[in-house]
């Protein structure tokens, strides 16, 4: 219900990883931007999608809800959903909401790529 202030960059790393770099605020209002980025990152049917949160500035519970719906979408496409670039605060939120049980967390893109 708030204005979207998130920006998403998309690129492909290796053959198997679509990367979405998140900048700004992730709230429920970021749904269109995130789902559009996911569609672009999935164009070549990568094995996994990596969400790079190193540019994340703010996230509320609506943003966490979006990640759950994105996870469902990725699972439906038989893709793994990964995350990197989380600082201690956001890592704790992933643990608190138990998202870390379904979204593997890596330090950075290189580590995520190496783990595939």
């Amino acid at each position: 219900m708030t204005q979207d202030t998130a920006a998403m960059d998309v690129h492909v790393a290796g053959d198997a990883l679509g990367v979405i770099t998140v900048h700004g605020d992730v709230t429920a209002a970021s749904e269109d931007a995130l789902m559009d980025a996911y569609t672009r990152a999935s164009e070549d049917s990568p094995q996994a999608i990596l969400l790079d949160f190193s540019g994340l500035e703010y996230m509320n519970s609506g943003g966490i809800g979006l990640l759950v719906t994105l996870l469902v979408r990725a699972n439906r496409a038989k893709q793994r959903l990964l995350a990197c670039g989380l600082n201690d605060h956001y890592r704790q939120i992933f643990e608190l909401t138990r998202l870390d049980e379904a979204i593997s967390i890596y330090a950075d893109e290189a580590e995520a790529l190496a783990a595939l």
Partner: protein, 239 residues
């Protein structure tokens, strides 16, 4: 310090700090602590289909800002619940990390005692997360925003039934009952500000798959335990 670390402070105080198991402080009179020692669960840990249900009501004509509405909603939360269910707000109010106990009427004269964990709270929203044993695995976000000059209140539930029994119950009228519960809540909230309005309801099935690997959640189910307790009452009498 990186840009992200500097900016983290913007939402840091809004989130609860991680907990392994819930701890309940003073139990209010009339409440039952069935959640102490339980873990919180997200929709990922649930069993049934995943649903996103949104209930919205416009307070057009009321002189209230989104922040004022949310403050009132937090302060007077129990008073907006429909008759037959009780919400025992934490003594320190609805704030991140607090646990609230509740009794919900689940039909057949049976009441389910459970609770919720306050996952997130800011000036214009707050979110509850459910514990093991609750009927649903997920979270409920209450928010308000200004739209076309009016303050609009919203309640959004993202959840799965936590166990197979609840999933069957949802199919057999539970969804309708839950919709009515939140629609009544939204009407009561609007009435608090002198507005008589009808809420809009939107229901989306986010994931049609049931997570059979989570069927064992039933061992935590408060409803299951209450049913067994009720069913075995005559046996206990004859002992």
């Amino acid at each position: 310090m990186s840009e992200q670390q500097q900016n983290t402070a913007r939402d840091e105080g809004n989130w609860a700090t991680p907990v392994d198991r819930l701890e309940v402080g003073d139990v209010p009179a009339g409440a039952l602590d069935t959640v102490g020692g339980k873990q919180v669960v997200s929709p990922i840990q649930g069993f049934g289909k995943m649903w996103q249900k949104t209930y919205r009501i416009s307070l057009a004509g009321a002189d209230v800002t989104p922040a004022e509405l949310i403050q009132t909603w937090k302060d007077e939360f129990p008073s907006f619940w429909p008759k037959g269910s009780q919400f025992h707000a934490p003594l320190t109010g609805i704030a991140p990390g607090e646990v609230a106990l509740l009794q919900a009427s689940v039909g057949g004269g049976m009441k389910l005692s459970t609770g919720v964990f306050v996952l997130y709270a800011d000036e214009e929203s707050f979110t509850f997360m459910t514990p093991q044993g609750h009927m649903f695995a997920g979270w409920i976000t209450f928010s308000a925003a200004e739209e076309d000059g009016a303050t609009v209140a919203q309640c959004q539930v993202l959840m799965r039934a936590q166990d197979p029994l609840t999933e069957v119950g949802l199919v057999l009228g539970g969804h309708r009952k839950e919709d009515r519960f939140w629609q009544d809540t939204m009407r009561a909230l609007a009435a608090r500000f002198g507005v008589e309005a009808e809420p809009e309801t939107s229901v989306v099935c986010v994931d049609k798959k049931r997570q059979w690997g989570r069927a064992g959640n039933v061992r935590h189910s408060s409803a299951f335990r209450s049913s067994v307790h009720t069913a075995t009452a005559p046996l206990r009498k004859h002992k």
